[in-house]
Amino acid sequence: MATALKDITDRDTVEHPDSIVVRFAGDSGDGMQLTGGQFTLSTALTGNDLATFPDFPAEIRAPTGTLFGVSSFQINFGSGDIETSGDEIDVLVAMNPAALKVNLGALRKGGMIIADSGEFNARNLAKAGYAANPLEDSSLASYQLLSFNITQLTVDAVKPFGLGNKEAIRCKNMWTLGLALWMFDRDRTPLVDWLKAKFTKNPVLADANIAALDAGHAFGETAEIGHSLHRFHVDPVKSAPGLYRTVTGAESLALGLVAGAQLANLPMFFGSYPITPASPLLHSLAKYREFNVTTFQAEDEIAAICSAIGASYGGHLGVTSSSGPGIALKGEALGLAIMTELPLVVVNSQRGGPSTGLPTKTEQSDLYQAVYGRNGDAPMPVIASRSASDCFEVAIEACRLAVQFMTPVMLLTDGYIANAAEPWKVPSIKDYAPFPVSFRETPPAEGEKLNPYARDPETLKRIWIKPGTSGLMHRIGGIEKGYDTGDISYESANHQKMTDTRANKVLGIANHIPDQDVTLGEETGDLAVVGWGSTYGPIIQAVRRARARGLKVSHIHLRYIWPFPKNLGELLKGYKKILVPEMNTGQLKTVLRDQYLVDARPLNKVTGQPFKISEIEAAIDALLNA
């Protein structure tokens, strides 16, 4: 509930807003992602609900002071349910002119700016394209501007440790974090512990950073301009009891995949090729050797998926992962996985497209590719994750579908989910029903032929035989296969039968997944907002607000995109209108209209930024009034 921070009027008192949005912004080298991450942890430990939005340039280390080199980290935290990283910023920390310039537009009128005046020198102002120093002219009059020389204050604070100038200055993110901790009434201890652990090999650096942290905190507490600063206390959210941690989508996905393989009782083989924003999944999984995970950095995306299919053929759970351009390269091999009916999980961490596009920005524009993007009639299930913690559930589900239907499964997530963090009530693997795989191991009876494509009559899943098993030698491949026998068949009627079988097997998954529920609201009404993926947060908040205004609006958020849940068609017919917000030009909309002939209306945004709640709310109103 992103209630905006109240105008700051009563000085020197502690405020108790429901939620606050803070954005830390600076040069790529200023450590804003780290600052944001630690602030997030501190927020979580305080018991607030939260959502984050890291946003960084495509450049590894862009030249200092430039507009394109600005890196930012936004966090929305509160005492109610937080589902988005926030429409507008309440507090903007700007470490240099470029950071101010790039981010000011997102700051609400009346919001607070904390600026490091030490960096607002002529050179940096010029780089950011400021003719005059905005801290000194009156251009920021409609905001609460607090500027002080953080650089100098940091250098002073760490002087005792004899660092070089560069190293000293690098501590300023900790100074800033210290100030933020004071502002938001936080405990410094976990931070201090973390710094000590991080710098065990270099205790001087640990001490310097702690000193900077303390200095920032003390500055808020006592120092010269403390009077113009505020203290906010955001009450902890009333969460279900249990153990919590924060988790990003990439982490949660990695854990979910491992869980899925464990539940299937299979070793996992993960073949991948680095690409933004998919690489963190490879990095996480590479660490989990003890859970029977083999990771393989292939020479390209094609080899990545082929190696994973090879491993699946060998009896592992093959998994591959990439983002749009890399998934494009996997299309041909996906056809082979479909034809040979081997299990495979394909994760697509979507990014801004087309082509190289906007690698570090988020988008949902690979749904078409997931559902339709292959040669031939090549159906495969497609499911999507809605949030960082949801990745865990969806990853398990992808593994289940893959092995229970002997099919590749496409799992869609996106750059926003991959990088964003949220608190997570840590589950136990014991909470999940296992779905162990049983390989065929008994040879056919004397005189009987082995049919490697023998199927379960209900699910149509074929049997799975591991090479190495005596008496079950057989050959598979990408040419059309005879029903049952799996031998090459060019026979006309067989091709029809196999095409239908492959389609029906995937469609039949609808019988083995939960019915679609209404995420928020009634099962009928004037308008259903149908979403998928990371638009979950802004949609549910927008629907909540609309409902608070008495509108008959419901939110339906899909996990299963192909096939749709059995009841979805009926459900949708219960609403007069259907709105489909997507971070693309209208892709889910196509599938809905095709499948159900319902007048699903698109709301599209492709700016590389998540939807604002207000944008969706406005579209709800517009469609209702249309």
Binding site: L41, A44, L45, G47, P190, W194, A240, P241, G242, L243, Y244, R245, T246, L255, V258, A259, P267, F269, G271, R289, E290, F291, T294, F296, A298, E299, D300, I302, A303, C306, S307, I309, G310, A311, S312, Y313, G314, G315, E332, A333, G335, L336, T340, V426, S428, I429, E441, K466, P467, G468, T469, S470, G471, M473, R475, I476, G477, G478, D487, I488
Partner: protein, 342 residues
Amino acid sequence: MNDVTELKKLTPADFASDQEVRWCPGCGDYAILKCMQRTLPELGADPANTVFVSGIGCSSRFPYYMATYGFHTIHGRAPAFATGLKLANPALDVWVITGDGDALSIGGNHTMHAIRRNVDLNILLFNNEIYGLTKGQYSPTSRVGTRSPSTPFGSVDRPVKPGSFALGSGGRFVARTIDTAQAHMPVVFRRAYEHKGASFVEIYQNCIVYNDAVYEPFTAKANAADAQLLLEHGKPMIWGKEKNKGLILNRDTQRLEVVTIGENGITEGDILVHDETNKSVAYMLIEMPFPGFPVALGVIYCDPAPTYDDAVEAQTVAVLAKKPAKPDFDALLRQGQTWTVA
């Protein structure tokens, strides 16, 4: 899983599948297939533990005809499938069957990386210097001037030498043989099979339909003795009907030369001795232009190094040694900073 107890001696028939062989009559692929079906029992191979992985091409139909496990994949990617399979189950004997187009045109990169990583695969490249399956277009090994449907005026690009490519990719085992060499081929297969790591074998294979007789000048019976240098490690490189041709390394130019024993005072002792582990001589042997030089056959280079699959396994063992014996997944979920809501 592998029925090790069953030790009955297998026969070629045990390695022949029930599928009708579908190559053109007279295709060199038949001879290679027969030879493989004959050699595997001699090597004591277990059909249940043997997998043939192939790409797409006439040659890539090979797995269907072997009564082992087999995977006919997609064009050019067989080494990648095989790598995943071998990592999944290092106990398998994995053979990769590929053609000159499959391995060196679309699949060049995967061939290179399987070799570079030294994955323990036996890669057999059926080189017919043509695209058979797609009806005769020239391939990356076709000679300059090859007239084909896609090069009606003759090809102009220089072919790649499979062996050089394999060595340049870091190959530790490179050999060559001929489809019709029913005595030589099994020896090379055995060496490839026994070599730990990526074994790269080029087989000169005749495509009777689209590229007939390109190898005749050195494979025809009448020409063989004078045209083929059959390499043996530790033996001087001598060939010829009279066993009097030899290779020496010219001291001034550092290049190979053909000499005749008994002429200009050359004796057998002057002849270069084949050292399988000498990579730069291996390059020279592969690149010797024929005619002028003989065609070097057999194991040209063999210098084993740790394999990728072994190294991965060894690393896993080392990593696991430092971890609790029974890894606790719930503990992993709870790693890092956590808090409790009461």
